[in-house]
Amino acid sequence: MSALEARQQSAAGTDGTGTLRLIRLAGLVATAALVFGIVPEVLGSLWLKVLISAAIYGLAASGVALLYARLGLVSLMQVALVGVGGWVTLKMWHATGLPFEIDMLAGGLAAAIVGALLGLPALRMRGLYFALVTLMAAAAFQIFITATQFPNGGEGWLGVSRSAPAFMPRPLLATTDAAMFRYVVAVAVLCFLAIEACRRSRAGRAWALIRKSEASAMAAGVSVAFYKLAAFALAGFVAGVAGGLLAATIGVLDARSFPAADSVMLFALTLVGGAYAFLGQAITGLLFRAVPALLNDVGVDGDIAFLIFGAALLHALITAPTGIAGQLFGLFGRLIRLGGRR
């Protein structure tokens, strides 16, 4: 909860002092220049691909964070929803050949519908018990997708080819790795902004009220069911879009990429990154994809890398209850105060 307060404080501070706003703006511009201008030019193909994956899963994590930070709900099925989005995107492309953006939106919508349907039980239950419903959904998805696989241009409803598999090409705007990286980051930022817009609208106020007390939300005339499901739909949508981006990056998808355990892992890392700010989800994406790649690249044995990863996960959950982003914001706040005193 302290992270939330810290955020609110820093938000209040932004409105108050001009210098802070300036620092923030300068930071944003510098980050944008770094991400869009410099990073794609200096990195090799390996690290660009790793960062693309990290951005994609950071985007997926923003859905998990939305549910957790705004409604206190835990979703352990986000990676499965990424799979749903990827499946629909691939199916759409192979079936219709429409531009990638339309296929991706279809993937996002499909995952939103599935997410909202699986969110239905949340109207009546919460906490661990609800989290386990979502885990069951993720586990069932793993079984179903292993048996059906992802479309690769084949015949029939499932679209799995018996002979030469076809790749889905990258979007026209992003045929190279560098362009794909910019494309993925731009889509992720758009989704982040959409979530932020919802948070600041009527929906955000409804979520805040529901989180405080469902009874008083109802008494205030808020449709608890509608806004809860809207949150699930939004979380599902970003997962679906992430799935579409993943499919575009590689061209094909494999059932092995979406195990139930990964959904649990993504939630854990969302906590570790920090659920209350988008910086946290960026960190989550990096932890989920860039850290294992780094360990692999420096030649750490794959098993030992997992050992380090598990230990680090436990350590971070214990020592950083507000997530790494929360710690960074705390640090930043202290620095500002120090500077102000001088």
Partner: protein, 290 residues
């Protein structure tokens, strides 16, 4: 009828495995509020060490002791050293953290034992009897019997002993129980210990009946969670029934052609449907109560 009987008996044998794990999960969850996703990994570690000792020529009894000892130690280590740091976090966070522990144990196992065909053979595999046309080995009978006996024993323990009473008190309301003088730490330690013993036992059973593979055994915890969900994470009897039902549904689904390829999803479908049915009369949820 012949085929149905065959698959029914087989389903009960498999269901016993789910039930046994589910009971181990539920007793810990009731007493400590932790749903232990490392349960499968802990059992697998016990089984791997037992197998290694038996490869070295140790008698089976030593293997059993090593398996149960290893699992109990691992369970206690987590319960005493790591879990207390998270005791004031919400239940989901405490459950998710155990995944970190599971990954650590799993990667250590994969590092120590390179992937190879292994097989754990117990003396009880050799004996068996024929039921409805299917041969049921002693190990399967033991698994079924153990599931029932452990359920009864734990239920009796909770109902009749002082520690059991304290566990129930903790399960009902942690803060209140602590205020009333329940020694939280020692009661929790007992719960982690009991859960570890059951994990070690079921780890040996799984390694024999499913297969001796660390990854498979580790992630078998997910269908076991399904059995625990049927028991609403509190009722041992319902967990037992749930585990057996799941096993039978999964096995019988083999006979229905269209769903046969998806039958491994049976635990999740059964659990999710039952969970929805349980909740059918609830209308509202209120913050603070899970």
């Amino acid at each position: 009828m012949g085929a149905y009987g065959l698959f029914l008996v087989n389903g009960l044998a498999v269901g016993a495995i789910y039930a046994l794990s589910g009971v181990g999960l539920v007793i810990l969850c009731r007493a400590t509020g932790v749903l232990n996703l490392a349960y499968g990994a802990i059992g697998a570690a016990g089984a791997m060490i037992a197998w290694q000792l038996m490869q070295y020529g140790c008698p089976e009894a030593i293997g059993w002791l090593a398996a149960i000892g290893t699992a109990t130690l691992l369970s206690l280590a987590y319960g005493r050293l790591i879990a207390p740091h998270l005791s004031f976090r919400e239940p989901v966070v405490r459950a998710v953290a155990t995944l970190g522990f599971a990954i650590m144990i799993l990667s250590l196992m994969n590092f120590s034992w390179v992937e190879a065909p292994r097989r754990l053979t117990l003396a009880t595999d050799a004996i068996g009897l024929s039921i409805l046309g299917m041969r049921v080995t002693g190990t399967r009978l033991i698994a079924l019997l153990a599931a029932v006996l452990v359920t009864l024993a734990v239920a009796l323990f909770l109902a009749a002993t002082q520690t059991g009473l304290r566990m129930r008190a903790l399960a009902n309301d942690r803060d209140l129980a602590a205020v009333l003088g329940v020694p939280v730490v020692s009661v929790e330690t007992v719960a982690w210990g009991i859960s570890g013993v059951i994990a070690g036992f079921s780890g040996m059973m799984f390694a024999d009946l499913v297969r001796l593979n660390p990854t498979v055994l580790t992630f078998l915890v997910i269908p076991a969670v399904a059995a625990a969900i049927v028991g609403r994470l509190e009722s041992l009897m319902l967990t037992l029934a749930g585990g057996l039902t799941i096993g039978v549904v999964e096995s019988m689904a083999t006979l229905i052609r269209p769903v046969a390829p998806f039958r491994a999803a049976a635990p999740f479908v059964v659990a999710a449907l039952l969970m929805l049915w349980y909740q059918r009369h609830r209308r509202l949820t209120f913050a603070g109560r899970d």
